[in-house]
Symmetry: C2
Subunit: 287 residues, 2 copies
């Protein structure tokens, strides 16, 4: 037997459809401002995609580019101005910033109501406490896949490998909530975990968010488990570059019951969720 593919495309499509309905009701285009410092070719693809999708779904996306040696105070002043600017619905920072700019400091002065990335401490806190706030896009994409493919989480043994602030930790807290994509029994593993396979092997749902290519092998998973692969790693094989996940997809394909492909899985959904957050920010800020 081979696994059912949990493709992201249909999930994203459903989210865009919902966005279109909401924008129609608004009768006005929300605006996302993206702050970019220096050149980062890796993020270009993501940003270009945001601009393209924004245009298609009537969300204005404005890029504010700064040279790599811009002073921190200039960015702090900019954020203050964007916070006050009623025409700006959401603010996104294209990280990582150059080293002389304190990412955390900048994030913490963004108005929590315009923090469409969901990285402001207040939004992370709300997420933990089960209150409405902006949820970071990658953990949110995992929840959308679970919802779309009607994957039961209540009482399931869910193992998350990776404890990052932007994926592992928020995801653990989300999957613990008392709602339709929550109530899981959650284990968080990481680099200090001893005998990792002992945990992954008993997982009903295994979520890989480690950032290491093909790290989860067939002998580390349970028969008929569900695999959500959050990793996107660029590797080179026979002089050809390609993206692979944190899971050895080929190896696990026959053992797992369901699996998200990479590319074409979780990463396919995040842009739609960022834009969904912008629409929500528009509504909150025009109250």
């Amino acid at each position: 037997m081979s696994a059912i593919l949990l493709k992201g495309k249909q999930v994203a499509k459903a989210i865009y459809k919902q966005i279109d309905v909401e924008i129609e009701e608004l009768g006005e285009n929300p605006k996302l401002v993206i702050v970019v410092i220096g050149e980062d070719s890796a993020s270009k693809f993501y940003i270009n995609n945001l601009i393209k999708k924004g245009a298609k779904h009537k969300i204005d996306v404005e890029l504010l580019k700064f040279p790599a040696d811009v002073e921190e105070v200039e960015i702090l002043n900019l954020i203050a101005k964007l916070n006050d600017d009623k025409s700006v619905s959401g603010i996104m920072l294209q990280k990582p910033f150059p080293k002389h700019i304190n990412d955390d400091k900048i994030t913490s002065i963004i108005s929590p109501d315009k923090d469409v990335d969901g990285f402001h401490p207040q939004n992370i806190g709300k997420l933990v406490l089960g209150k409405d706030g902006f949820v970071p896009c990658t953990p949110a994409a995992v929840l959308e896949v679970l919802k779309f493919y009607k994957i039961e989480t209540s009482g399931k043994d869910i193992v998350i490998v990776g404890r990052s602030n932007i994926v592992g930790k928020p995801l653990a807290n989300l999957l613990l909530r008392k709602d339709s994509t929550g109530n899981g029994t959650i284990t968080i593993c990481h680099s200090k975990t001893k005998d990792l396979a002992a945990y992954t092997k008993k997982a009903d749902i295994l979520i890989a968010a480690i950032g290491r290519a093909n790290f989860i092998k067939e002998n580390m998973i349970k028969k008929d488990c569900i695999i959500i692969d959050v990793g996107i790693n660029l590797i080179e094989k026979n002089n050809v570059q390609k993206y692979v996940g944190d899971v050895d997809y080929q190896g696990c394909f026959d053992t797992a019951k369901m699996i998200t492909p990479v590319p074409g899985g979780i990463g396919t959904i995040t842009t739609s969720l960022l834009l969904k957050n912008v629409v929500r920010a528009f509504k909150i800020n025009s109250k």
Copy 2:
């Protein structure tokens, strides 16, 4: 063999000693304001203890009492006033409030810099993100016990039973941090967990925060595990009332390697940590 007792008294003593040194340096008494609405005999003991310990350690504790039918707006205005009052270092709400008062709303308007309970979303967010903020006293007390008794957490299988916003969830996030009381492999179990004993039986460190008297039995734990019992439950036996933990203490005593007693364990430490937060708040607010 019988378990080593992880008593709270010495831990609290060490914290008070540190408070005394810091207060000496300040040359001024910090002030804690406790907002109490209606009569609640259960919290009286805790509050009286805070007043007593405050007096002993040069922290002014002021009680602001309101009748049970006070209007919410009056409390909201009070908090705004306390936020602005430079003589107030920390604000504590004696919850639960009567039903017509929205606890969350009140908590969320407390200045995060005066939120000595650590329940404001921004402080919970900082806790998750590994940033300095106020940590709620009960999870903090667990960390203090681990530190005081030099219990290694890195790479250990740590199972938390209970997913409350004030204990289980913040504790899970704290024990995941990359520090001396962190780096654990964390599993959070709760009412929806299937086969709870399968998880608790493999725990190196078992943390019980369920709120059910004597719930964890000897056949649910591993030989030589370390048990942290956060529960405080009032039971009646032979017409005598007494407090017991979430763990069947007598039953587990010979199997566990170390165990916190109830009473005399975690609960003994929380008051000292609340006052420690007040001292910290004083410093932050006088900057």
